[in-house]
């Protein structure tokens, strides 16, 4: 699935990031293919905010459409999985 379909609280893993320059910039900020992240916030029709450790990164909707992810756990079920991972409430 694509990143723009993700809901708040979902635990996801990035599969591929479309464009090379975006991939590089995101990688430098800490998001790369294989990263496991929590979706911290989804602005309706707007950007998606992802969280890794304590860092939050906003990704524009048009960018999110080109980022493939797999769902590791839905919001709610994500609590257990990610508490192991990050010790955070989701």
């Amino acid at each position: 699935m694509m990143l723009d379909k993700v809901k708040r609280g979902d635990l996801i893993k990035i599969v591929s990031i479309g464009e090379a320059t975006v991939r590089e910039n995101a990688l430098r900020m800490g998001i790369d293919e294989g990263s496991i992240l929590i979706c911290a916030e989804v602005i309706p029709a707007g950007p998606i905010v992802l969280r890794k450790y304590r860092q939050e990164i906003a990704i524009g909707r048009s960018l999110a459409r080109n980022i493939a992810v797999v769902m590791l756990a839905r919001a709610g079920e994500a609590r257990l999985a990610c508490s192991n991972l990050t010790g955070e409430m989701c």
């Binding site: 975006v22 800490g30 916030e41 905010v49 906003a58 524009g60």
Partner: protein
């Protein structure tokens, strides 16, 4: 400043060295630089505030602050500069944010791979506990192979420790992948070979080599390594309970974020648009007009004849010593300082990034991304200031669109004050129609520009700073530094502008322009010929021109057309100067001409639309006109967006 810096040399016995501060945006490099040298650099809780390099010189030793970068290559001109600075450094101080190690260690690992003697400064260590994190410092030093010094730069903690340990700086451990690949370039130093391996065309060209193709490999490996180090040294003890995090989320969630944004905008309008632009500026301008200018004139009268050529240039209507000084000190200084104060608070609190996220979608229709919302909002206070903040935008295309929209469609607070007064006397219908026209202009022109300018809007990829309470000393110091440098740059431009106006006036060209404009005003806009004067005045200051419209006897429709045309018409001298300064002479002139053209074409069309509506349906002139405007807007937007999807 000198004392502290000299102490570094004495304590470390470095002699003549070059120390460079490097780090991601918004990690506190500049505060740290300030603590180390006593010299102030622009600091804020918004990425990318250090636009220029700051050096502090002590003897032959330099301490250099650099703009925040996420990595070193030649992606942007800033990055190239930072890379070249780093390569020539004797010691690199890598500042990292203790809470955002995961992001920051990419650069740290890259610096380690380059093999330059370095020391890592772990800033904001006091945040670790509050955010429920625990860090193993010993393990971190082992992993990186360089000294790691925990500091709290804002409180000055750990600075002494850093000075004591500075001499221990050494090259960090390169990754095994990089070590292996470096064997391909046996003759080169590590800091030169690495950029070439990573495919940096600039460094490769310097050595007459082809850029290497290992970028993806090295980057992926480096990210892995950074992740590994972070998971080895950082433990999450408790959940992140910081109130700032929850507040940060409320501010970007539309349900709570939009009311909060409206509240902030209202506060902003009240403080800058009303308190500052009207009350404070009214006072300072009065002071300059009533006290300073007569004083200068009486002084000058002793020396030269005020009616002589020199006298008029120096102290006439557009005098270098009268109008130019009054504008800079009485008008620009308080406005600019006030704007920078509010801007600094928005930046330092971290709210600016949240507004950008909230508005990203809306702005994308105009070919801009969320970050452009800041200049647009500022424009309703003062277009001149807003034009300066278009620097925040990342690409030339976005800066161009934002500048044009600001120049064309946004009335400043001073002008709005008169517009509201006039429209208030005409009736609510006119007020609504005025609002509709401003909105349509912005949307219509934005959409068309977005369609016809090459390239597309740059999607948002924004690193969110945490919400923080702005530090008063920081806000004050920053606003003052920025205001000072702005005034310093604007002053000569104002003098030049005033001189030009004086020349126009003396040579009688001004009158000729006024007469030259008569066919335009009378036969095209259907306005009385006196309005030409209002347009000329409007160029000098928007609100002067608008005020003059009140004095000219016209029917309501004519008044309305004049108001709208004046709103669209070229921005005031100050804005024009800023446009020329920011966009360059050629593009600035083009924007200026385009805006004037659109203003008169638009005004003429509106005039025809209104008189046509009046003759067809006298009872519902305004609603009918509004309907036509909405229809035209819809057609323009639809065509622009439709052709975009096809093309």
């Amino acid at each position: 400043m000198l004392n502290i810096s000299n102490k570094i040399i004495k304590e470390t016995g470095l002699g003549q060295k070059k120390i460079v501060l490097v780090g991601n945006p918004n990690v506190g490099k500049s505060v740290f630089f300030h603590q180390l040298t006593g010299q102030y650099v622009d600091v804020s809780n918004y990425p990318g505030t250090t636009m220029e390099f700051c050096c502090s010189k002590f003897g032959d030793t330099f301490l250099m602050d650099t703009p925040g970068v996420y990595g070193l290559s030649s992606n942007t001109s800033e990055e190239s500069l930072v890379r070249d600075t780093v390569v020539t450094a004797d010691i690199v101080i890598n500042v990292v944010d203790a809470v955002h190690l995961d992001r920051d260690f990419f650069l740290t690992c890259q610096l380690a791979d380059m093999g330059i003697p370095m020391i890592v400064v772990l800033n904001m260590v006091d945040d670790l506990l509050a955010r429920g994190l625990e860090l193993n410092l010993v393990k971190l030093e082992q992993r990186l192979g360089v000294p790691v010094v925990p500091v709290v730069a804002t409180k000055g903690e750990g600075i002494d420790l850093l000075k004591r340990r500075l001499h221990q700086a050494r090259p960090g451990q390169a990754s095994d992948v990089v070590k292996g690949l470096l064997l391909n370039y046996p003759g080169l130093k590590r800091d030169e070979a690495l950029p070439i391996l990573e495919g940096d065309p600039e460094v490769a060209a310097r050595h007459n080599l082809a850029p290497g193709g290992e970028k993806a490999n090295i980057y992926a490996d480096r990210r892995r390594r950074a992740n590994e180090i972070v998971s080895a040294v950082l433990k999450e003890k408790t959940t992140d309970t910081a109130f700032a995090i929850r507040l940060g989320h409320w501010l970007i969630r539309p349900v709570t974020g939009i009311p909060a944004l409206l509240l902030v905008l209202w506060l902003f309008y009240e403080s800058v648009g009303v308190l500052l632009a009207q009350i404070v500026v009214g006072y300072t301008e009065g002071l300059m007009n009533d006290c300073y200018e007569p004083w200068v004139r009486s002084l000058l009268a002793n020396v030269i004849d005020l009616q002589s050529l020199v006298g008029i240039v120096l102290a006439g209507q557009f005098g270098l010593l009268t109008m130019a000084i009054t504008y800079v000190l009485g008008l620009l200084l308080p406005l600019v300082l006030g704007f920078y104060l509010v801007l600094a608070m928005l930046e330092d609190s971290g709210y600016m990034s949240r507004i950008a996220i909230l508005m990203d979608r809306l702005m994308s229709y105009l070919g801009l991304n969320g970050q452009a919302v800041i200049p647009m909002v500022l424009g309703f206070g003062c277009v001149t200031m807003a034009l300066i903040t278009t620097r925040l935008l990342t690409t030339e295309r976005e800066r161009r669109i934002a500048t044009l929209l600001l120049a064309l469609s946004v009335p400043c607070s001073a002008q709005l004050a008169f517009v509201t007064a006039i429209l208030g006397s005409l009736g609510l219908g006119y007020m609504l129609l005025y609002g509709l026209i401003i909105f349509s202009l912005m949307t219509g022109v934005g959409t068309v520009l977005n369609r016809f300018m090459s390239g597309g809007s740059v999607p948002l990829l924004l690193d969110l700073p945490p919400m923080r309470f702005p530090r008063l000393d920081n806000v004050l110091r920053k606003s003052w530094t920025r205001t000072f440098s702005f005034i310093k740059e604007a002053f000569p431009v104002f003098l030049g502008g005033a001189f030009l106006l004086s020349l126009l006036n003396i040579t009688g060209l001004m009158n000729k322009i006024e007469r030259f404009m008569e066919p335009l005003t009378i036969s095209w806009l259907y306005l009385p010929n006196e309005t030409a004067g209002a347009f000329i005045m409007g160029f000098i200051r928007r609100d002067f021109g608008t005020a003059r419209i009140m004095e000219i006897p016209m029917d309501p429709l004519q008044t309305f057309v004049a108001l709208v045309t004046l709103t669209m018409f070229v921005p005031c001298i100050a804005s024009t100067m800023v446009i020329l300064k920011e966009r360059g002479w050629r593009e600035g002139t083009a924007i200026w001409l385009l805006v004037s053209l659109l203003a008169f074409v638009g005004g003429g069309l509106l005039s025809r639309l209104l008189s046509c509506a009046r003759s067809l349906y006298p009872a519902i002139t305004l609603p009918f006109a509004a309907l036509i405007i909405i229809a035209i807007l819809s057609v323009i937007v639809t065509i622009s967006r439709w052709r975009r999807t096809i093309g």
